[in-house]
Symmetry: C2
Subunit: 298 residues, 2 copies
DNA sequence: AGATTTGCATAATAAAAACTTATTTAAGGT
DNA sequence: ACCTTAAATAAGTTTTTATTATGCAAATCT
């Protein structure tokens, strides 16, 4: 048997009032409840804690006043744990572990968390980039609480909040003959080669676009790197289809590209904030989620 | 409602094994017992602590790993309290609060506690001198655990262990004409004046000596100070009756006195170690009490 | 000194909490 | 799809804790 915090609370009250009955009244319990608790402490520690003066309350033995000191500290520690945990989850401070789909990260995250930090400067972010599979895992395992990701194959254990719908665009070298057109049809691309952004789920999404219009692309290169896709296109390896358009048309290697909307009514991709369905969010994450819903602009 | 240490212990085990069932087996309780405890913690803190992966155990949320840290510390603190209290009362170290009748203190205490400290160097003493009334109160209130005192009017709530019987002696100036005798009768003192050691209970004791032999002393001075009695006698103010005889015949003021046994069969005083009947002694005090019984020589 | 009051202990009982077994439900693996 | 793993839930039991009523020792009052 071990002692309990409640027993110590009872003992402290008795020590404070020097009187079991008075202590019991202050604690709103019966007098024998206190007597019992203290007997248990005495038995447990193998020490006499109180001297009972029949008509004049009780006083502490040496061991009793030792325990008084120790118990006071322990109970304060317990209080600290309580407030620490409660505050830490209820307060608008601490870290938010944020997942982010690789291609989305640089485009939206910096601005968004900067704006958020203007309102809540004590919240900091830990960013975890990854593909949809990895992000999904991180959410389910609790490694991240929220994630920016496309709504592609996330499964029903992940809840989503849509921020924007991103329509697919054709990426072409700036000097390509089709680059001047306002919009493009799949038919226009029939004889061109393609560079495919080859990531889990993205893959299948692009395929579904082509299938929906009976189009068969001539895929020349595949890569999982969004920036490499842009550079390949910029260097004339063909066109590509993407849903994101950075603010610049210059690729890392200096080549230029353009993004032209598809004339066809192609299924857009949903950009969402995702969270695990079975995880209750701490306050800061809840607030951040609301902030994203209200303040996100694609 | 507040959290309990047991709940934290359960939580710690779950965090350690990442698995409620495994934790329950290590703790020798059923799986629902653990589940329950953790639900209670979650409800109490208003935070989700675990993410349940139905067929793959559990993992900690951010708040969960916060609590892991805090709970570990708190439980260690609780362990410390336990060992501290237990050791402190069971071990042969710490302080003994020792009461001592004023006149006895300088004569016996220093030697005794020195000898005791040779065996148990980690025990220290806090000495409380006082008259019998005060010593009795200190024992009953728990201020002192043991006391050196005469067995005079201690009452039945104090238990005693006799160390020695001290027979009364006549104190005379060294140059007094009676000072050369081997022993004295009350009749020899008939025409002398007396200095009375006037302390609670001592008073009544001396009176009973005189009454027992139909003797009426001519009391010239009364004082509660033993040393003053000796000096008064040394300066020729009369004789006195005492039970203690220091190793020196020189008084504080340089005058000389002698102590001569009473020829009459006078009731001796019991020098005892006293303790409150209703107080269980800590180990160190018990050992010291035994030590006194065995090693005290008057 | 006897009577009254104060205040802790004890006993019997009631209430609440904790735990157990059995069953259900949700994932994961094959 | 089916089997396995593991947590949640439900129902019932045990254990713990608390309550009321009473006893008893010491202090205080008359």
């Amino acid at each position: 048997m071990k002692f309990t915090l409640k027993q110590l609370r009872y003992f402290l009250a008795v020590a404070e009032y020097g009187n079991v009955t008075t202590a019991s009244e202050h604690l709103f319990v019966s007098q024998p409840a206190i007597s019992n608790a203290i007997n248990q402490l005495e038995e447990y520690f193998g020490v006499q804690l109180l001297i009972r003066h029949h008509a004049k309350g009780v006083s502490l033995t040496q061991a009793g006043s030792d325990l008084l000191t120790e118990a006071t500290q322990l109970l304060r520690h317990a209080e600290d744990v309580q407030t620490h945990i409660k505050e830490h989850s209820q307060s608008l401070s601490g870290e938010i572990n944020l997942g982010c789909f690789v291609t989305l990260a640089p485009l939206y995250i910096p601005k968004l968390i900067n704006q958020f930090n203007e309102l809540y400067p004590d919240v900091s972010f830990v960013l975890n980039e990854g593909n949809i599979e990895e992000i999904s895992q991180s959410l389910l395992s609790g490694k991240t609480e929220l994630a920016f990701v496309y709504d592609l194959g996330l499964g029903d254990r992940i809840k989503i909040h849509e921020l924007a719908q991103l329509t697919p665009k054709v990426l072409l070298p700036a000097d390509h003959e089709l680059a001047k057109k306002k919009s493009l049809k799949f038919k226009d691309l029939e004889h061109e080669t393609m560079v495919l952004l080859d990531l889990p789920h993205s893959r299948e999404y692009f395929q579904s676009l082509f299938d929906g219009h009976g189009f068969k692309p001539q895929i020349r290169h595949r890569t999982g790197s969004y920036e490499l896709v842009r550079s390949l296109v910029g260097n004339g390896y063909g066109y590509s289809i993407v849903n994101l358009s950075p603010q610049t048309n210059i690729c890392y290697d200096g080549s230029s590209i353009v993004a032209i909307p598809l004339a066809e009514n192609a299924r857009p991709l949903s950009l969402v904030v995702a969270r695990a369905a079975n995880v209750r969010l701490p306050k800061r994450s809840e607030v951040f989620l609301e902030f994203c819903k209200e303040n996100f602009h694609a």
